[in-house]
Amino acid sequence: MGNFISRLTASIQTDSNSPGGITFPKFMLIVLQLAFMLLAMRQFQIENAAFLRLAVLAFGGFLLHAWLPLAYRLPFFLGLSLAGIVLVMGWLNGAWLIGIGLLLIGICHLPLSFLWRIALLLSVGTVLALQRAELLASPWSTAIWPILGSMFMFRLIVYMYDLQHEQAPFNLSRSLSYFFMLPNACFPLFPVVDYKTFRRNYFDADSFHIYQTGVDWMLRGVTQLVIYRLVYYHLTLAPAEVHTGGDLAQFLLANFALYLRVSGLFHLITGLLHLFGFRVPETHHLFFLATSFNDWYRRANIYWKDFMMKVFYFPVYFRIKDYGATWALVLSTMLVFFLTWFLHAYQWFWLRGTILFVPQDFLYWALLGAVVIANSLYEAKWGRTRTLNKSNQSWRNRVSLYLQTLVTFIALCILWSFWTSESITGWLSLWQVLGSDPAAAERNSNPVFNTQSLLVVALLVVVASSTGTIGASGNVPPRKGVSRKIWSPVSITTVKIVLLCLLGIEGIYSQFSPTTATMVLSLRSSHLSRIDTAKMERGYYENLLDVNRFNSQLWEVYSKKPTNWIDVDSSNLKRFVPGFVRTELIPSFAEDTKHGRITINQYGMRDQDYAVAPEPDVFRVAVLGASSVMGWGVGDGETFEALLEERLNRELTHSPYAKYELLNFGVAGYNPPQQLPALEKALSFKPNSVFYIATGREMSRSARYIANTVLDKIAIPYPELNAIVASAGITPDMDETTALRLLEPYGQDILTAIYRRIAGQCRERGIKPVLIFLPQLRDGSWQEETAPSLKVATDEGFVVLDLNGIFRNADIKTIRLAEWDEHPNKTGHQLIASAIYDALLANREAIFSPTRQ
């Protein structure tokens, strides 16, 4: 203890010339910037609440760490890292994660031969993989897998490689810190930090320089994440929304700019590591300004490139170089790109627990590998321009460089759009807009930004990749004897952070125009974009197939979903049938699910059995709808339809009817056009009223369903819908993107035809058509179609009951099944039943007046 105190005292009295030392004024400058940084992170809710807690822990830890004797700093960092894991994952999951980690690290150091240790690691890895795939049971929560995977899936390879070649003495704190690294608990996507660099660059330069670089990089990371949100929320387009060349440019640029998220996160992570003396190199360096494909590979995700070079490229090259340098170069590069593709799928497995194989993925890496090989052969023969001093470049060189940068940027945008596309045919259809009728295309175009705004955003994106002061030129410490500038970087960085903080204050941004203020407000929180929300909503209605890569934030939501989670599409309660309706519930199906028992009656309704013809004094209602009506996520008797029926019979006793019967014709996954055949079935039960439950995006869902029906060559038995298909000009030989692009402008016409037919059939039989609008559990862009849809319903003669706002005061976590499945749970259904009951009473005369067919 006395020894520690004397060392601590010496540490505080030290100056910045001793390793790890810093003077008090310089320390306070860093603290000041970190305080503003924390405020900016809070203002913009950077990443998630867990990260903010971790940042508080890290910054607080820094205050003590910077003054500890050097020998105590690594153990302290390790303690902080372990505390971070427990803070984010809780005691139990944290303990499991640390325990598994210790087992893996322990195997690396067993007194066995290298090959035996590798074999043991592979054996344990196989068991863990079986558990990850849920083929073997595991006693810990599935929540630990993505983090455990990101800590060990690549770092174990690097670590074993370095153990084989390094002579450096073992240091327990360093080894454990390397794997349990502080910010990792929050980030499944984590840079592949090199162990040797982690060891070698530890406090190997002036401490103030290291800390200031860390602050600069964190600022760059936060800035990039905020600009990423601007692009993600406001600039991205769905392929079907691309109608003109301008839309295409916006689509390509926005799609490529989404990479800012990876860069931003990695800057944040490596910046944070600097606060604890790890002077790790940059992970990205002006990557949007690459001058060739090789240059892109060198600048973007540098750690990955270094990992592949170190572990695969150089060893293979040295092994085969005697067969000729050119062949060795080509084969080594080919192997690197093949393994990059494979390891990408390997990473996906540990993060998501599923196998990833999409042709675009393989083709992208094959294509990139081919151009990098061509580029490498060119450079090997002709060399490339390098300079020690950029100011020496001639104007010709500069112009040439700018042109190369522009061409490379455009080529990368195109290649990137291919990689992240949902399908190859969809990607190919994007380019058809270049040959389409400009006037017609312009009418359908709905660009979020005009060309000038687009240029401003492009500029911002480029600036974002270079924001910072010290960090902008990499992480090269000042040469010995060169005076170190302090005030300039500190003041510039501080001003930038303060400006960011000010931008996030409501009292300030609300002074801007409403459009700008709304945009800034949107940047202050992390949520899914309009496109990803629409995809998630699609997942709500149909099986979501395209969340299969890191091409949106949606995968992060789905990564939390247990692999044994049964969703509505994998519950086997439906079957395919020929014809326009495509699917139906399996009659007499019964199964116990984790949400309760699901029973389908003999007629294919999730309901009790009813007589086909009602008793004379019964008021019978046919309820049409999708999964929320069918009641996915609740047991029999807990659906809002069942609750409503029970309450009507219990409380509405003073009425002309002896009984109310609500027949549940809801089928999970049904879109509005499928309600037409559902209605035909319902009419055979002779209802007094039809309740059509609409749940949002009625127009676009209708258009998508009709488009897919045409593409699947299924006959549409409704002449008015066929007329619309003919007007839009879609044919079965088209790809989905093109068909959607052509049909979506007819969304309102399609919905009108559907509502008109439903209302008309009801009127013919003296039935009251009632449209109940049931909102989704959270606000979102789905609301865009609500008002026009309800107007169509009113115009076509429905009694409209709008339940908008019923969930507004409820905590979404208490009314949904799970973060990845936003169907209402039992409480949600109770809320809905109560709201419909109130709405029915308010419209009692219009709905329950006796108009028996």
């Binding site: 070698r200 090789n294 150089f314 450079e379 390098r386 020690l388 001093n389 990499g474 090269v476 040469r479």
Partner: protein, 83 residues
């Protein structure tokens, strides 16, 4: 011997990778790999040159910034290999 080695390597680096550059700007501790002058292809060309010129053999794990980042590092590695 060390200065001779540095001079030979410096002459090669200037000739092959930095033609037209002021030799005075390439110092013994100019970062070559971490400074972006030596990429993987250039590093392999440098290694091939060193192996031929000095009659030494490199191992794959030595082609990194720990061993080859500066002229001084390169010279030190060659001296070690030459014994």
């Amino acid at each position: 011997m060390t200065q001779d080695t540095i001079a030979i390597v410096k002459e090669f680096v200037l000739r092959e990778f930095l033609p037209g550059e002021n030799p005075d700007e390439l110092t013994d501790d100019t970062p070559l790999i971490t400074g972006g002058i030596l990429d993987s292809i250039a590093t392999l060309r440098l290694v091939a040159f060193l192996e031929e010129k000095f009659g030494v053999k490199f191992k794959a794990h030595e082609t990194d910034s720990e061993h080859l980042d500066t002229l001084a590092d390169i010279s030190a590695l060659i001296q070690t290999k030459l014994g």
